[in-house]
């Protein structure tokens, strides 16, 4: 136990003022994110992540926005296990044919009003997998999309920016 406490004190708070490397402009976005979430989502924006066919690269970066350095919770962003509580769906991957139905169901299970954010080049337009018998292309081919976040995978900063854009 002492070791744990020691490690906690030693580490301190590593959360960055969002995020140092891209400078003041982003700090502003972080503040905005917090502000909008406070006003429009009563301090908590609840997100359900759906992998509709990704290679798992995008998932890793969505994980990263939860790590202590980006720490998206401080802006009021939470990930939920059920679409029933979600304000937003964060959808990755080209939509695979075998996930199409599950994606539609998840969308329908999410209460209105809802936002959909497509994450990654694949989510935007199918990426390298394109459109064919098994990959149906971008998320907007299947459900309405509000915002697209490009990148393969998009960086954690880009994901946070995209989320902000969607709720502004």
């Amino acid at each position: 136990m002492l070791r744990i406490l020691h490690q906690i004190f030693r580490t301190g708070i590593v959360t960055e003022p969002l995020p140092a490397e891209t400078g003041a402009a982003i700090q502003e976005i972080g503040a905005k994110l917090e502000d909008v979430i406070r006003r429009r989502f009563r301090r908590s924006l609840t997100i359900r992540a759906v992998d509709a066919g990704s290679c798992n690269g995008c998932e890793l970066e969505i994980h990263a926005i939860n790590n202590p350095i980006y720490n998206c919770e401080r802006f009021g962003i939470h990930f939920t296990a059920s679409p029933r509580f979600a304000d937003m769906l964060l959808v990755t991957g080209p939509v695979s044919r075998n996930m199409e139905i599950a994606l539609r169901r998840t969308y329908n299970a999410t209460p209105n009003p809802k936002l959909v954010v497509a994450v990654g080049d694949c989510g935007c337009n199918g990426g390298i997998f394109g459109e064919g018998y098994a990959s149906l292309g971008g998320v907007d081919k299947i459900i309405p999309v509000n915002i697209k976040i490009q990148g393969c995978p998009p960086t954690p900063v880009a994901i946070l920016q995209g989320i902000l854009k969607a709720i502004l």
Binding site: A52, S54, A64, M99
Partner: protein
């Protein structure tokens, strides 16, 4: 006796070498269709493991002479059926043909357990029929695909969407008093890939687990066939995003084997540097996630902090957080100068210190220990039977690591010391990864301290590496962080991609989860699953 000698000298098996198979230390032998199972029996007796089994459509290869003794009058060669075996440092491919009009071949499932799924997959995607297979329910293919849709056949038009038809998947049933069923997925609670799990349970105890995958099938193998060799490496880097370095490396090595291209030592060492960085990043993330699934979130945050630092240096020095698209046929696109070298060495010093502190906390926490020990045991016998690979195998007594058994520079000089444990539980899988992290740090230091001089991407080599001869096949294995990745590439009459077979470690290791879960309780499933952390995308392709 080597596997090669075994197959050549086997009584009743008439094996002729396939001269088109590269590299020369991974030979392929052609046998008649009837002898395909006999060959499997010989391999089983010789204590080999089944690495992969796959099919090709070679029906349009009509201009080639038929191998001796094969059926005359068949259009082209029909379908090629391949099985790859390995023992110690030897790999061997056994190949046969089956005609279009009667695409059957003898199943080898009764000899090798992993063939069970390989053959279901071949049946589902290529439409070849393994006779004697006990369970030909579709695999990866879902029940609502049209009946005659076999995407890997050349006659299949992959550019069009497929109709949905009515169909049902028959899950295995268990009956009895108090037995109930829990369906989970494909959309899971966490931020993870989709798949379906079906449990039969009594109270909290799991009687049976059945996996149902294929949800993220994107048609990757078929997609390769429409790409050029240089585009192909990008796709390989997206088979499983967490292993992008290992997959693109394996693709390049198979292609380089086909083209006889030998990249300079510096290139090989830089590739290994990236491979070890990828291993560390994933191990860090997963050790934390395992602790988190045992309700010890502290370690998740601590380990994910270390992981993030590593990814940032990746971005700074390699230009991408996961080092995607850094490896190309014949070379790499990024070099490390002396500042970069010093930065990584300093990073490794910092990382090792931080890491060791956390390991002590992991090791000395009794409530964590209680959850991870004796949970999700994969017995060494079962691991052997299922031919599992990677850290999963090493946690269950199997000393397998292709950095050692099939090394390329620098692993011939910097030999990894791999930990092997026997308990096969969640703890063993986590602990093997802890020791591997230490070892990768050591390897990275050695690589940087001895990095040979030279070019990183000579134009000649790049073009050589992307132009194989027609009708060649190339094979390569790379030890990614999950384990042995296998690529087998085949060029067509024009020298373009005819087939690209991808075998992620998950394709065999998924079988192990079903076995390891027996006798565990439902609430421990996420923990067990996390301790294997298999790829869905790499499996579903």
């Amino acid at each position: 006796m080597t596997l090669r000698e075994t197959i050549i000298s086997a009584p009743g098996i008439d094996a002729s070498p396939d001269e088109n198979q590269c590299p020369s230390n991974v030979p392929a032998y052609i046998v008649s269709r009837e002898q395909f199972r006999d060959a499997a029996r010989m391999m089983k007796t010789a204590d080999a493991r089944l690495v992969a089994e796959w099919a090709t459509d070679e029906s349009h290869y009509s201009s080639l002479p038929l191998p001796s003794g094969e059926r005359e009058g068949v259009r082209g060669r029909g379908f090629g059926i391949y099985a790859c075996y390995a023992r110690d440092n030897e790999y061997l491919i056994v190949k046969t043909y089956t005609p279009i009009e009667d695409p059957t071949f003898p199943s080898i499932t009764k000899k090798f357990a992993p063939a069970h799924r390989f053959e279901r997959q071949m049946n589902s995607l290529m439409g070849v029929i393994p006779t004697g297979h006990p369970d030909l329910r579709p695999w990866i293919r879902h029940e609502d695909w049209p009946e005659d849709a076999y995407p890997l056949r050349k006659s299949f038009d992959a550019s069009k969407p497929m109709q949905r038809v009515k169909g049902e998947y028959n899950f295995i049933k268990a009956e009895g008093e108090g037995v109930y069923e829990i369906p989970v997925g494909p959309v899971h609670a966490g931020i993870i890939e989709p798949g379906h799990f079906r449990f039969q349970a009594v109270g909290e105890d799991i009687l049976n687990l059945e996996e149902r995958l294929g949800y993220v099938h994107k048609g990757i193998e078929k997609r390769f066939e429409s790409l050029s060799w240089t585009e192909g490496v990008k796709l390989a880097g997206r088979v499983s995003g967490d292993s992008t370095v290992a997959h693109s490396l394996c693709y390049c090595r198979a292609l380089e084997a086909m083209t006889g291209c030998n990249p300079p030592e510096r290139v090989l060492w830089l590739r290994a540097l990236m491979l070890e960085r990828e291993r560390i990043a994933n191990h860090l993330g997963d050790i934390g996630a395992i602790a988190n699934d045992a309700a010890f979130a502290f370690l998740l945050y601590q380990f994910s902090r270390l992981r993030e630092m590593l990814l940032r240096i990746n971005l700074k020095l390699f230009g991408h957080r996961f080092m995607m698209d850094r490896i190309i046929p014949g070379g790499v696109i990024i070099d490390i100068n002396s500042d970069g070298k010093n930065e990584i060495l300093a990073e490794m010093n910092w990382l090792l210190k931080e890491f060791e502190r956390l390991v002590v906390i992991y090791d000395e926490n009794p409530s964590l220990e209680d959850r991870v020990r004796d949970t999700g045991i994969l017995k060494p016998e079962t691991a052997k039977e299922l031919c599992v690979v990677g850290f999963t195998a090493r946690a269950s007594g199997r000393n397998l690591d292709c950095r050692i058994q099939n090394p390329f520079p620098p692993y011939d000089k910097i030999i990894p010391k791999v930990p092997v444990l026997n308990s096969g539980d969640v703890h063993a899988r986590a602990w093997v990864r802890i020791e591997e992290t230490r070892e990768s740090i050591r390897i990275i230091r050695e690589i940087l301290n001895n990095l040979p001089d030279g070019q990183i991407a000579e134009p000649d080599l790049k073009s050589q590496a992307s132009c194989p001869q027609p009708h060649r096949a190339g094979f390569a294995v790379v030890e990614g962080w999950r384990g042995e990745i296998v690529y087998w590439l085949q060029s067509d009459a024009k020298g373009e991609i005819n087939r690209c077979m991808v075998r992620d470690p998950s394709s065999v290791n998924w079988l192990a989860l079903e076995q390891a879960i027996h006798g565990n309780i439902v609430p421990d499933f996420p923990l067990c699953n996390k301790s294997f952390n298999q790829s869905y995308s790499g499996h579903d392709l």
